[in-house]
Every structure is written in structure tokens, then in C-alpha cells.
């Protein structure tokens, strides 16, 4: 092969690899994308049962109940609230009136959480939660904690 052709074949194989990677990635994305909703959005447009999504908001005051390893609480955006059930150990920063993001699916109106996330900073408000609260119309700038 002449140098020009070699370079061309190199570039072509690079593009091919990149294309294949993008194709594989997009397929994987379609199957594994997890959407984020606030309680109001969930009530307005309930996701299909068994469809995984993330639910974010504040842990409603006085809603946390423990039964063995099972924990029930409600996630609120101050307008609406969704009951959540979770088996496992809650993250260190899980507290009432604090921001929380849970991943799981709806079953008969109850959100069955596979994981519960709270971030590692006591003043931290997950951005999605802040946005969800804003959407519900009850958010003051600077009231982040």
C-alpha cells in the first residue's frame, strides 16, 4: 500500500471503531437511561410499573418509620408527596427535611427504592431536588440546606 492509502485505512479503521463504540453506547444508553422525577411529576404522569427511575425531593418531616430492616418514609416537594419503602441501611446523611434521591420503581402507588442517595456534604442539596422544588414553586434561593 502507498503511504496515502495506509493513512486512509488507519483513519477509516479509527472512524469505524469510533462508530461502533458510539453505536454500542447508544444502544446501551437506550436500555439503561434512568429518568429523574419529582413527586408532582410522578403524580401527574406516573411512569410505567417496573420502569426504573429516580425520585427526588425532601424527606417529609415525621414520616420516617422503621420496621426491622425495612424503612418507610415520604419524599415531598412541599406540594405533593410519594411514599417510599426501602430495605437496607440509609446513607449517613439521610435526615428528615433533607434532600434525598432514591432509585427504584413504582408499585401500586408506593415507590420501591433499590438505593437511596444522600450526598456527603451537610449543606448539599442535590441539584435535581432543587430543580424539582423550584418546579413545585416552593424554593427560595439560598435556602439550600
Amino acid at each position: 500500500m502507498r503511504p496515502k492509502h495506509r493513512r486512509l485505512s488507519l483513519i477509516l479503521s479509527a472512524l469505524l471503531a469510533l462508530g461502533a463504540a458510539v453505536a454500542v453506547s447508544l444502544t446501551a444508553l437506550r436500555d439503561n437511561l434512568v429518568f429523574f422525577f419529582g413527586p408532582t411529576e410522578v403524580l401527574a404522569k406516573p411512569p410505567a410499573a417496573e420502569k426504573r427511575f429516580r425520585l427526588g425531593g425532601l424527606v417529609e418531616e415525621g414520616s420516617v418509620q422503621r420496621q426491622g430492616a425495612e424503612i418507610r418514609f415520604r419524599v415531598t416537594d412541599t406540594v405533593n408527596a410519594i411514599p417510599v419503602v426501602y430495605r437496607g441501611i440509609l446513607p449517613d446523611l439521610f435526615r428528615e427535611k433533607q434532600g434525598v434521591v432514591a432509585e427504584g420503581h413504582l408499585r401500586e402507588g408506593v415507590f420501591v427504592a433499590a438505593s437511596v442517595l444522600a450526598k456527603h456534604d451537610e449543606t448539599y442539596m442535590p441539584r435535581e431536588v432543587a430543580d424539582a422544588l423550584k418546579k413545585a414553586g416552593h424554593w427560595k434561593e439560598g435556602g439550600g440546606s
Binding site: 500500500m1 503511504p3 495506509r6 493513512r7 488507519l10 479503521s13 479509527a14 471503531a17 469510533l18 461502533a20 463504540a21 458510539v22 454500542v24 453506547s25 444502544t27 446501551a28 444508553l29 436500555d31 439503561n32 437511561l33 434512568v34 429518568f35 429523574f36 422525577f37 429516580r54 422503621r66 420496621q67 426491622g68 430492616a69 430495605r87 437496607g88 441501611i89 440509609l90 449517613d92 446523611l93 432509585e103 450526598k119 456527603h120 456534604d121 451537610e122 442535590p126 441539584r127 435535581e128 430543580d131
Partner: protein, 660 residues
């Protein structure tokens, strides 16, 4: 006073960087030796000034000078000395200053040890370095000044987040930055080469050791972060595909590719334009990583600041750096002509395959990390891309990469002989198949996954050994000859084999711990027992304890195997008053073959406690593998041939003898 001194030194450093970024370039264009030589002294001066600023900030932390805002918000007079020192970079402003310090240190390194570089190349490299420094110093001074005062000063500081008060994490950022910033040298050399219009083996001999060093540091940095997440976060996981973790993985993948393609430039004078492009991309990904972490566009553990001005500044800097260097590349890449050719089936061909696969992996991680951002910006939909995506999207690239890792080193340069190589790798192939079949027969769970995984691991672990044996002509030549070959085997060869072996070790840890771990989550009352893998955990209860600056809840487990006592494990949950914070201290019994991992949580109000117990086979091999990879890098770096300025020709004979 000291803080003002540091502030002043930083402003001076900015001035020096401005001069260093412009005058030497002009000098190099005009062939003015005086102006070119100025670059060296400017780089050294800039380093001294930034070091002075850094020292001043450290002094403010050591002396608990709470009139400095940064110290007041991030330190505390009662904090242990170690965390006062590491607290300097445990915050946004200080960590950027550390970035600038390491950048200046590397620039000074080029200035001090670059005597044998062509003067114009050296001047241009240092000028490009200074441009990066200019961006970072301006960023610090205008948006993130660590020396700002507060009046009146508070009586005591806020303290450092207890999660960050940990030796594993304390040294995670410096290693990461040594890696990120180390790639800036490769970048500066790439840009300088584009300006010069020339890339030769001497260029690659300079770029390779810097890339190798940066890569080794980054490997250690990522491993430290992952290890910390494993023992400190209490989830038993070691990699969460968190955007910030991805931010460090992308430059690592690109840097690994760069490491391999620079070899081709050095040995064969081919793939020049590609290597230059990779150097640009690797550093761009390092910058992107810094941007993602520091701007707060992604919600993450690490996002210190969410100040839009900062994000905008870094984004603009990123756009100028990446856009400018890619435009320069487009304009000048034509000049970089290869001096040799190679067949598809050759060492070069294998390295190209390595580059394509690593590049595809880096692109995949980039897509998964940025996709939520794009979707949010375009449609307002909030999504997250989690581990399932990365596992599904990366596996198709990793499998061929692991296979190629075995073949590549045995292929000859220019034109390889696959049948001959396959014959020589027969042993490794046999071992891999045997391991796969045995796994398939014995595994009680995940047999297929385990068989493929362990087969590949066996392949990755045996091929470097076969490769070494080949170099030594072990069992083919008399032992004395093998011994003689062993004595002259270059350290770079050892380094490569060791690094490839490390990949196998790490893959082993990942496969075994993913396929065969046991997880038990339940509420336990004192007296309850749970079987976890082959072990039995007896929960004896939990009690409250006073720590030095926290209140702890300590669980007590007695672990037995077939009735024989194995260990007592006491995980804790700690509550800190300043700043108010709870941390999980998992109890871990690490062994080479398996880890036992126990976490105790809050009481459930009915006399029980939430507990999480794990049995994780071979999980420590993940970090062991990373360490072995980095050691391979360091060993290779210590090779005389990599030492800049070492006589190269003298080694050629030895190379020829070992078939290198």
C-alpha cells in the same frame, strides 16, 4: 501578613507566566537565543513564586489563621497536624493552587533537565506550559483567591469534613493532579512540535517518560480514590461510575493510549500525527475533568463550589485550549510525515488496535458522563446514566483489548507472524481454556460470566510470563544463556510485562468480586446470626462510645467458619458535632483471598440494628493490580534508555539481542 505575601507572590507569578508565554515564542520564531533562554529562567522563577504562595497558604493553615476565609471555612484549631497540611488542598481554592504548583514544578523540571533539547523546542514547550499556567493563575486570582481575608475573624474554624479526614483520601488529590498535570508536558511538547512542524524519535524520547510518570501517578491516584470509597463510604463498592470518577478515568484511558503510541513514534517514526493528537486529547480530558469537578455542573461528592463565574471561566479556558490546539493540529498535522510503514499484523498494528479500543472506551465514558448534561440542556429531562450502561458499553472494547494485550508484545515490529506467535502462546491459550472450563464446571453461580472472565484473566496473567520467557529463551537455550539474557533485559521490558500482569490481577479482582460476592442486608438483634458465604456472623449487640471528637455506635460481630472462630469485627457509625456529620466506619477483614466487610447502621426502634454484611472474594486484587501497574510504569521509567540524554545507541546491541 503571610497571606498577603502569598497573594503578592501569586500575582508576580502571573506576570512571569505572561512574559514566559510570549517572549520565548517570539524569540524562537526569530532565532533569538537570548529570548529563548529566557524561558528557562522564567519557568524556574515562576515555580519559586508559586511555591512561595503555596507555602504561605500552608503556613496560614498550620498557624490556624482564621482571618483568612479559606482557613476559617476549611480548618479547625484542634485538627491533627497531618490534616492541617492536607487540608490545604482539601478545598476548591487550595486544590487549584496545588494544581498550579505542580504545573510550575513540571515546567521547572523541563527547564532544569532540558539542556539537551533543541533551544527552539525547549523555548516553545515552556511557552505553552506558561499559557496553561496563565489560565490557572488567572482563574485562582480572579475567581478563587485562597488568600482573601475576613473581618472580624471567627474564633475557630468550621473544620474539615470528617469524611475527608483520612490518610487514603488525603493523598488522593496530589497523585491525581500529578497525573493530570503531568499530561500537560506531553501536551506542551505536542503543541511545540506542531509549531516546529517536526516530530522525531528524540521528541518521543522526551514525551514518553513524562507521560509514563503522569500515567503512573494517575493510576495510583485513581486506585487511592477507589480504595477510599471502598472502606469509607460503607457501601462495599469500589467504583460508582460517578461523573467525577469518570473524569479521572477518561484521561487515564487516553493517557494509556498515548503511552503506547509514543512507543511507535520513538521506535518506528510512525503514527506521529496520531500521537500528537492523542497528547492534545489526553490533556484536554484532564482539563475537562478539572472543569467537571470544579465547576459544579455535575452533582457529585467532589463538587466543592457551584459558582457560575468559575464554571464559565473554566469552560472558556477549555474551549480556547482544546479549540486552539485542534485548529493548530488541523493546520500543521500534514507536516508530520511517517518515516516507516508497517503491516496490519505487526507490533505497530497491535498498538494501533490498542489505541482504537482505548480511544473507543474513553469516548464511551465521555458520552455516558456528558449525556445527562446535554439532555438537560436540550430538553430539560433529568436522567442519570448508571453502572449498567458503562458495563454494557465498555465490555465490547475491553474483551478484545485483553486478548490483544497477550499477542501484541510478541509480534515483531513492521511485520508480525501470527501463526508463530500463536504457537508460542500455546501455553497461555491452554491455561486460559483450562481455567475457563474448570470455572464452568465448579462455579455454583454466574458460571458463564466467571468462565469468560477468568479465562481472559488467565490469558492476561500468563501471556506476560510467556513473553518474558521468550525474551530469555527459557527452556530453549541453555540456562546459562537465559541467565545472561535476564541480566541484560532492559527494565522497560520488565516494566511492560509487570504492567500487563497488573491488568490481569485487577481484572481478576473485578471478575471474582462481582461474580461471587455475597451481600446480606437485614436488621439484627443481639444474639442473631447470619450466614455470609462460607462464614457465620454472630451479632452480639451494639453500644454507644465516646470518641475524641465524635460519638460512636459500635457493633460487635463474632465471625466463625465451620464453628472455628475467625475474627471479631466492630463496625462503627460516628456522629461528629463539628461540622455536624455522620460517617460509617465499616469493619473490614482484608485478606489476599477475600475480604469480610461489616457495617452497622441505626437502631430500628425494636431492639435491632440495620446491618450490611459482605463476603468479597479477591476484591483487594483490584488495588493490588493497580499498584503493580504503577510499579511497572515506575520500573520502566527507571530504565536508562528512558532517562533523557542517556546514550541510546549503546543500548541498541542489547535490544537486538533480546529481540526487542
Amino acid at each position: 501578613m503571610i497571606a498577603e505575601l502569598g497573594h503578592f507572590a501569586l500575582i508576580l507569578a502571573l506576570g512571569v507566566a505572561l512574559a514566559q508565554a510570549s517572549l520565548p515564542l517570539w524569540g524562537a520564531a526569530r532565532g533569538d537565543r537570548g529570548l529563548m533562554a529566557f524561558a528557562g529562567s522564567a519557568a524556574l522563577t515562576q515555580f519559586l513564586l508559586v511555591a512561595l504562595a503555596y507555602g504561605a497558604l500552608t503556613q496560614a493553615f498550620l498557624g490556624s489563621d482564621f482571618s483568612v476565609i479559606n482557613v476559617a471555612t476549611n480548618s479547625h484549631s484542634q485538627k491533627p497536624l497531618l490534616y492541617k497540611i492536607t487540608g490545604v488542598w482539601g478545598n476548591h481554592e487550595g486544590s487549584l493552587l496545588l494544581w498550579a504548583l505542580i504545573l510550575a514544578l513540571f515546567g521547572a523540571g523541563v527547564a532544569a533537565f532540558g539542556a539537551n533539547l533543541p533551544p527552539s523546542l525547549k523555548a516553545r514547550v515552556l511557552a505553552v506550559q506558561a499559557m496553561i499556567a496563565l489560565g490557572f493563575l488567572a482563574f485562582i486570582l480572579f475567581t478563587s483567591n485562597p488568600f482573601q481575608r475576613i473581618d472580624p475573624p471567627p474564633a475557630d474554624g468550621n473544620g474539615l469534613n470528617p469524611l475527608l479526614q483520612d490518610p487514603g483520601l488525603a493523598f488522593h488529590p496530589p497523585f491525581l493532579y500529578l497525573g493530570y498535570v503531568g499530561f500537560s508536558i506531553a501536551f506542551a511538547f505536542a503543541i511545540a512540535a506542531l509549531i516546529e512542524g517536526r516530530v522525531d524519535p528524540a521528541w518521543a524520547r522526551w514525551v514518553r517518560p513524562w507521560t509514563l510518570a503522569a500515567w503512573s501517578f494517575l493510576t495510583v491516584g485513581i486506585a487511592l480514590g477507589s480504595w477510599w470509597a471502598y472502606y469509607e463510604l460503607g457501601w462495599g463498592g469500589y467504583w460508582f461510575w460517578d461523573p467525577v470518577e469518570n473524569a479521572s478515568l477518561m484521561p487515564w484511558l487516553a493517557g494509556t493510549a498515548l503511552l503506547h503510541s509514543a512507543t511507535v513514534v520513538e521506535k518506528r517514526e510512525a503514527l506521529k500525527a496520531w500521537t500528537v493528537l492523542l497528547a492534545i486529547l489526553t490533556f484536554s480530558l484532564s482539563l475537562l475533568g478539572t472543569f467537571l469537578v470544579r465547576s459544579g455542573v455535575l452533582t457529585s461528592v467532589h463538587a466543592f463550589a457551584t459558582d457560575p463565574a468559575r464554571g464559565l471561566f473554566i469552560l472558556a479556558f477549555l474551549a480556547v485550549t482544546v479549540g486552539g490546539s485542534l485548529a493548530l493540529f488541523a493546520a500543521r498535522a500534514e507536516a508530520l510525515v511517517a518515516r516507516s510503514w508497517f503491516a496490519a499484523l505487526s507490533r505497530e498494528g497491535a498498538l494501533v488496535l490498542n489505541n482504537l479500543l482505548l480511544g473507543a472506551m474513553a469516548a464511551t465514558v465521555l458520552l455516558g458522563t456528558l449525556y445527562p448534561l446535554f439532555l438537560d440542556a436540550l430538553t430539560g429531562d433529568k436522567v442519570s446514566v448508571g453502572p449498567p450502561f458503562f458495563h454494557a458499553a465498555l465490555a465490547p472494547s475491553f474483551l478484545p483489548l485483553a486478548i490483544a494485550l497477550g499477542f501484541g508484545p510478541l509480534l515483531a515490529w513492521k511485520r508480525g507472524d501470527l501463526p508463530a506467535v500463536t504457537r508460542r502462546l500455546g501455553v497461555a491459550l491452554g491455561v486460559a481454556l483450562a481455567v475457563a472450563l474448570i470455572t464452568l464446571a465448579l462455579a455454583d453461580r454466574h458460571a458463564a460470566l466467571g468462565a469468560i472472565g477468568l479465562g481472559l484473566v488467565a490469558w492476561a496473567l500468563t501471556t506476560p510470563l510467556v513473553e518474558l520467557a521468550e525474551r530469555l529463551r527459557l527452556f530453549r537455550a541453555p540456562l546459562a544463556e537465559s541467565w545472561a539474557r535476564l541480566r541484560i533485559l532492559p527494565r522497560a521490558a520488565w516494566g511492560m510485562s509487570l504492567a500487563h500482569f497488573g491488568v490481569g490481577l485487577m481484572a481478576m479482582g473485578v471478575v471474582a468480586s462481582e461474580a461471587w460476592q455475597t451481600e446480606r442486608i437485614q436488621a439484627l438483634r443481639p444474639g442473631d446470626a447470619v450466614a455470609v458465604g462460607p462464614y457465620k456472623f454472630d451479632f452480639k449487640g451494639a453500644r454507644e462510645l465516646d470518641g475524641p471528637n465524635y460519638l460512636a455506635l459500635r457493633g460487635h460481630f463474632e465471625v466463625t467458619r465451620d464453628g472455628r472462630p475467625v475474627a471479631v469485627m466492630e463496625p462503627e457509625t460516628r456522629r461528629y458535632p463539628v461540622p455536624p456529620m455522620t460517617t460509617t466506619e465499616a469493619a473490614i477483614r482484608p485478606r489476599l483471598t477475600e475480604d469480610l466487610y461489616a457495617v452497622v447502621g441505626e437502631p430500628d426502634g425494636e431492639g435491632g440494628f440495620a446491618t450490611r454484611l459482605y463476603h468479597k472474594p479477591l476484591v483487594s486484587w483490584i488495588w493490588l493490580g493497580a499498584l503493580v501497574m504503577a510499579t511497572g510504569g515506575a520500573l520502566s521509567l527507571s530504565d536508562r534508555r528512558h532517562r533523557v540524554g542517556a546514550p541510546v545507541r549503546a543500548r541498541r546491541a542489547a535490544q537486538a539481542a533480546t529481540g526487542d
